[in-house]
């Protein structure tokens, strides 16, 4: 018998816990030529801002051992173009559309969250409080519990949709950040975002990418992500979406066992466009082999 794979994230019911991480799956449609988007639990859309954003100067990426560094700089087409050009097509798919969003300041976060709340076809909001590529006074919001508290509270006021806060790994105490979000009414957390990192060209003595610092992603960061998901899940009751270097069902299962209720495949989408689907199939096989009838039985079962 096929095991049950439904999980609940806030007000959302996902048909399975497999999402695609923001920034690694475009607006979803880029991948529809490779895979059936209907098979996914949900798609987390590339970070949107109120207005289009051109992003950082090239070169923007560099491969590192089992990972990659990026400084895309949150390039995106902006809310209006997304709603007009992408969303009508995305609506045809039977999957949850989660929009990652950010602003240059808190007012923009609030305005954008309000507009996303009012837009049909968007099932949940993922608030970016932690992108290392963002340049503004609020870029450290994810690192400062007071700023984070204020920001989550204000954004929570303007949306009834499921609100997910995407946390930065760049903190000493992830539990504190998780608790702040929970206290202010966030429905769920997603972690981790990329880890700020550098690669230097020794000849030019400059960064190998267009900015001194980029975000490190890929399998290289996975053990850190699993650890942080475990720590956060002990601190809060709200569900957690695990993100960081997932390439296979085995990788994803670690996140579930650590306490994540869902997870997102990120960088691996770039390398194998079918990765998310292979993860779904692999997890179903694992559950059958282990005699587990419902995926929820495995969540948070880490043994100390």
């Amino acid at each position: 018998m096929k095991p049950l794979t439904e999980v609940k994230i806030g007000k959302l019911t996902l048909k399975n816990p497999v999402l695609t991480a923001s920034g690694t799956f475009g607006y979803g449609l880029e991948y529809s030529q490779f895979l059936d988007l209907n098979l996914l639990g949900g798609i987390i859309i590339k970070g949107l801002s109120l207005n289009p954003k051109e992003g950082n100067p090239p070169p923007r990426i560099y491969e590192t051992p089992c990972g990659m560094l990026n400084s895309i700089g949150l390039q995106n087409i902006g809310l209006n173009a997304f709603v007009k050009e992408k969303l009508p097509i995305l609506k045809r798919f039977d999957t949850k559309i989660i929009v990652n969003f950010f602003g240059e300041n808190l007012d923009e976060y609030i305005e954008l969250a309000g507009k996303l709340d009012a837009t049909d076809g968007i099932h949940a909001l993922e608030m970016n409080v932690s992108c290392p590529n963002k340049k503004s006074e609020w870029r450290k919001m994810g690192l400062n519990p007071e700023l984070l508290k204020k920001a989550v509270r204000e954004v929570r006021r303007v949306t009834k949709k499921t609100l997910i806060i995407k946390l930065s790994p760049q903190v000493t105490d992830i539990e504190e950040m998780a608790k702040v979000c929970e206290e202010e009414g966030a429905d769920a957390l997603s972690l981790i975002n990329t880890i700020p990192a550098m690669v230097i060209d020794i000849k030019t003595r400059k960064s190998i990418i267009g900015n001194p610092i980029g975000g490190l992603s890929g399998p290289a960061i996975r053990p850190i992500a699993v650890r942080m998901v475990w720590e956060a899940s002990k601190a809060v009751e709200i569900p957690i979406i695990g993100i960081g270097g997932i390439t296979s069902a085995e990788d994803a299962l670690q996140f579930l066992i650590a306490g994540a209720r869902a997870f997102a495949v990120g960088t691996a989408n770039f390398i194998n466009p079918l990765c998310s689907i292979e993860v779904i199939e692999g997890i179903e096989r694992f559950l059958i082999e282990e005699g587990i009838k419902d995926i929820n039985e495995i969540i948070g079962t880490f043994q100390q």
Partner: protein, 249 residues
Amino acid sequence: MNKIFKGQIIKNQAFAENVYLISLNLSSRIDAKPGQFFILRVNDRFDPLLGRPFSVFDLEDNKLSFLYRVKGKGTKILSNLPEGEKIQITGPFGKWYPFPKDDYVVIAGGIGIASVFYLMKKFPKKAYLFYGAREKSEILFFEKLKELANYIYISTECGSADYKGIVTEAFKEKGMHLNFPIYACGPMVMIKELKNLLKNKKEIPCFVAVEERMACGLGACLGCVIETKDGLKRVCTEGPVFPINDLKL
């Protein structure tokens, strides 16, 4: 329709120092146009993490070939893969060279020949080929190119061929009078020189294939952008072939 499939290596052999030709047998017939590219994963692990993009060098039914230079970790591993090995291939991706209607000029620098060979194969006996390399041993497929091109003019920096110097200088001397569309691929310095040469001949269309570090190849990661007169454009999607005057060099 882009696809993801497995290719079985039929041949993977050195053609010159650090230059290899890999031919793969695909399970089904595919279509790709000159200038388009595919991404090859050199193993099933995630180290190296990313696949490597290569222009289609040749395609016949199910047999797909790439000419590549060993430059780093990924191409080094690729060059060591034995016959029979199966690897993941995605593609074709990107914009192709607009098809020439009649005679045309091709300018290739070094490994840039990889991108224009298939164009000359698809549109044979019409190309005025200017092909340059550092030395004669790096001029590849000379006999085949002689068959494909209408005219061929070879330049080497050491002077062991038709012309001593870089390929843009050779073109300046022997090709500037030709009023045919130009297709070019080579190092960025060559593209810059060419743009400079053509600044008073804007009526001649010139298409160049460029490269940039790339992750997904399908337009999602936004990692491979370059500067154009209309802002940043993705090499994988709006390129890799661009009109030369669109590029900010």
